[in-house]
């Protein structure tokens, strides 16, 4: 994976490397706390997968392998920035402070969203590939009009990079010099579609043709992702315009719990990427440089177990919503057809009504 185009600050073996443009600014404490985030988020994914297997979730979209990409980017954000995720940004959501159980409301099929986007300054999931990218650019145009020093950051995958909405987002961000960072997690697959179907050349290069910088970063390298994201965000906040970041990473698991990757990819590929595990390399660094002890690592694992228990309890406590709530929040100012639906539901005895 020696690649001139790839920004890397930490090798898969956990060795620091130099880069002409980027230097890690993270303290050992911060790295340790980000390590903790990654462990917990991985645990969240494992627990969610088993909850799904046990019929407690309708679906789960795991992020094993992408923890560094998400925690690195998530921690680079400032509180007032605003993020526009897909369905797979659990690490970003975590960084924004979204309570983990809320992340699972979508997957338990009790909500189409899950949290209050303004509280966490993290938008609700966008499932239609690419939609959120234009929304983020528009939000960034709002930041400009407010004269605020904030940035919008939006997430999408290698597959979504082919959608017109993403590409129009590039046109608009360039045209208006909008304070937005496009964060593409190239995890090599869009369900069964390999990266090579979307593009024969590295994705980050696309940005230049639209008139703004594109950077490919080792998405499994926490330190590099953090610095690249931080720099791009600072540049955006300072009026420097958009950046496309391609985080070169890998989806270690299935697309979702409904998917069967054995049908389309070879195990050897997964094996190769196991050696580039984003958590292991930070651990190696911490052991060597910060002298983090086994006890300290164990404490985090224990915390992750606690966390998982709590998550499970929270999920199991989420009951079936009263069906009448389906009429809530469709319109701000009501609509007779909504009233009619509510009335019918009460008359049919499906709900007691008022909610």
């Amino acid at each position: 994976m020696v690649d001139e185009e790839l920004v890397q600050l930490l090798t898969p073996e956990g060795q620091r490397v130099e880069h002409p443009d980027y230097t890690s600014t993270l303290s050992n404490e911060k790295i340790f706390s980000m390590y903790r985030d990654m462990v917990i988020i991985r645990r969240l994914c494992n627990e969610s997968t088993s909850l799904q297997r046990q019929g407690q979730l309708a679906l789960w979209a795991p992020i094993q392998g992408q923890e560094a990409a998400q925690i690195g980017a998530g921690r680079a954000l400032q509180p007032m920035d605003f993020t526009f995720p897909t369905y797979r940004e659990h690490g970003i959501a975590w960084s924004r402070g979204v309570p983990p159980a809320n992340m699972l409301r979508l997957f338990r099929a009790v909500s189409n969203g899950g949290w209050d986007p303004y509280t966490y300054r993290h938008s609700v999931p966008a499932i239609v590939l690419g939609n959120q990218v234009l929304n983020a650019v528009g939000y960034a145009m709002g930041i400009q009009r407010d004269g605020a020093e904030e940035a919008a950051m939006t997430f999408f995958g290698d597959g979504a990079s082919s959608q017109g909405d993403v590409l129009e987002g590039f046109v608009w961000a360039a045209s208006f010099n909008a304070p937005v960072v496009f964060f593409c997690q190239n995890n090599q697959w869009g369900i069964s579609t390999p990266m090579s179907t979307q593009s024969k050349v590295p994705l980050y290069r696309r940005a230049r043709g639209f008139g703004f910088p594109g950077i490919r970063v080792d998405g499994n390298d926490l330190l590099a992702v953090y610095e690249v994201a931080r720099t791009a965000l600072e540049n955006a906040r300072a009026g420097g315009g958009p950046t496309l970041i391609e985080a070169y990473t890998y989806r270690m698991g299935a697309h979702t719990t409904s998917d069967d990757p054995t049908r389309y990819r070879v195990e050897a590929e997964v094996e190769v990427w196991k050696h580039r595990d984003p958590i292991e390399r930070v651990k190696a660094l911490l052991v060597r440089e910060a002298k983090t002890t086994q006890a300290e690592f164990d404490a985090i694992d224990a915390e992750a177990e606690e966390f998982a228990l709590q998550l499970r309890a929270d999920v199991l406590a989420m009951g079936r919503p009263d069906p009448i709530t389906m009429f809530d929040n469709v319109y701000a100012e009501g609509h007779p057809l909504i009233e009619e639906g509510r009335r019918e539901m009460v008359e049919l005895g499906i709900s007691g009504g008022a909610h």
Binding site: N112, V124, V133, R145, V330
Partner: protein, 327 residues
């Protein structure tokens, strides 16, 4: 009461201006809306007075116009998106149906999708293809959206302001063939609520409802029908989602007969839907089946023959005859 005579185009322009004056969060975005003032000049002079940050000339991409307006709404802005013509709204269809219509629900009420999509719609201007369509049913079918159509300068002036003030997303349909027709505008008071229907001519025999461009045609038909002894009660729907069903039921309870006139084709349309709904509510009053006089089930024809596609006075009178025959 300050009333001024102006065209519908001017009324919209004045309505937009007033909305922008009242609320600094109101933006306009679209293709050619700035210096050119839009191809119909509806935004004439607004960029000059409010600046290019509030009247935004967009790169040519409708999905992006709506998609960024969604982000601006999340940030607290209210964007009036201009689609240059009805036939160019489809590239934005996904953003409208998947985001505009659903984000309030998805965010459990946190997001207010305060945005308006202006759609110069219907035919009658002798244009080339894609410039004369009536896609309102596609939006009316979609929960989460509201849809309305103006037919007079006074309504245009007030409804555009009400639409902008509304916390729900509004597809605002403007009958482009009527842009240059003049009417009285009362600058002091709105004529009605946002989605209230208006009785444009009282009558006793048949309720004839329409919206946008067809109102004038219906009123002409009513004149002729009156000469032939048939009294049409003419209703301007104004709201297409929601429809002011109560007003229709009131009227049809009295007349026992219903015709809806639209330029859009009939299958899976608003007119057909109204006929089914009102027939249900007024079943025992119905003296004849409700009819829809609409466009045909074809792509909009070359405009040298468009007047035989759009509902004409003749076609409305033919429907009047057919309805009256049922007695």
């Amino acid at each position: 009461m300050a009333t001024v005579t102006m065209t519908m185009a001017k009324a919209l322009n004045e309505g937009l201006r007033r909305a922008m004056e009242k609320n600094s969060k109101v933006l306009i975005m679209g293709e050619d809306v700035g210096k050119l003032g839009g191809v119909f000049r509806i935004t004439d002079g607004l960029q000059k007075d409010f600046g290019p940050d509030r009247v935004v000339d967009a790169p040519l991409a409708e999905s992006a116009i709506v998609g960024t307006a969604v982000g601006l709404a999340i940030r607290g802005y209210r964007t009036v998106c201009e689609m240059q013509f009805d036939g160019f709204v489809y590239p934005a269809f996904d953003q409208i149906v998947s985001q505009v219509a659903k984000l309030r629900k998805r965010s459990e009420g946190a997001y207010t999708m305060g945005l308006v999509i202006r759609l110069p719609f219907q035919g009658g201007i002798g244009a080339i293809e894609h410039h004369s369509e009536s896609p309102e049913a596609l939006f009316a079918h979609t929960g989460g959206l509201k849809v309305m159509a103006c037919s007079t300068p006074n309504d245009a002036y007030w409804m555009i302001q009400q639409a902008i003030e509304s916390d729900d997303p509004v597809i605002f349909c403007e009958p482009k063939s009527r842009y240059w027709e003049k009417g009285e505008v009362d600058l002091d008071a709105a004529p009605a609520g946002l989605f209230d229907a208006a009785v444009r001519r009282p009558g006793t025999d048949i309720t004839v409802a329409g919206y946008g461009s067809t109102m004038k045609t219906i009123l002409r038909a009513a004149e002729t029908a009156a000469g032939e002894g048939v009294s049409l009660e003419v209703i301007d729907l104004r709201g297409l989602s929601p429809v002011d069903t109560a007003a229709l039921v009131d009227s049809v309870t009295k007349t026992g007969r219903l015709i809806v006139v639209q330029e859009a084709p009939v299958h899976a349309s608003i007119g057909a839907s109204i006929v089914a709904d009102v027939t249900h509510r007024c079943f025992y009053s119905m003296r004849a089946p409700g009819l829809v006089v609409g466009g045909y089930h074809i792509p909009y024809p070359p405009t040298r023959i468009e007047e035989d596609y759009r509902p004409t006075v003749d076609r409305i009178l033919d429907a009047v005859d057919r309805v009256m025959e049922f007695d």
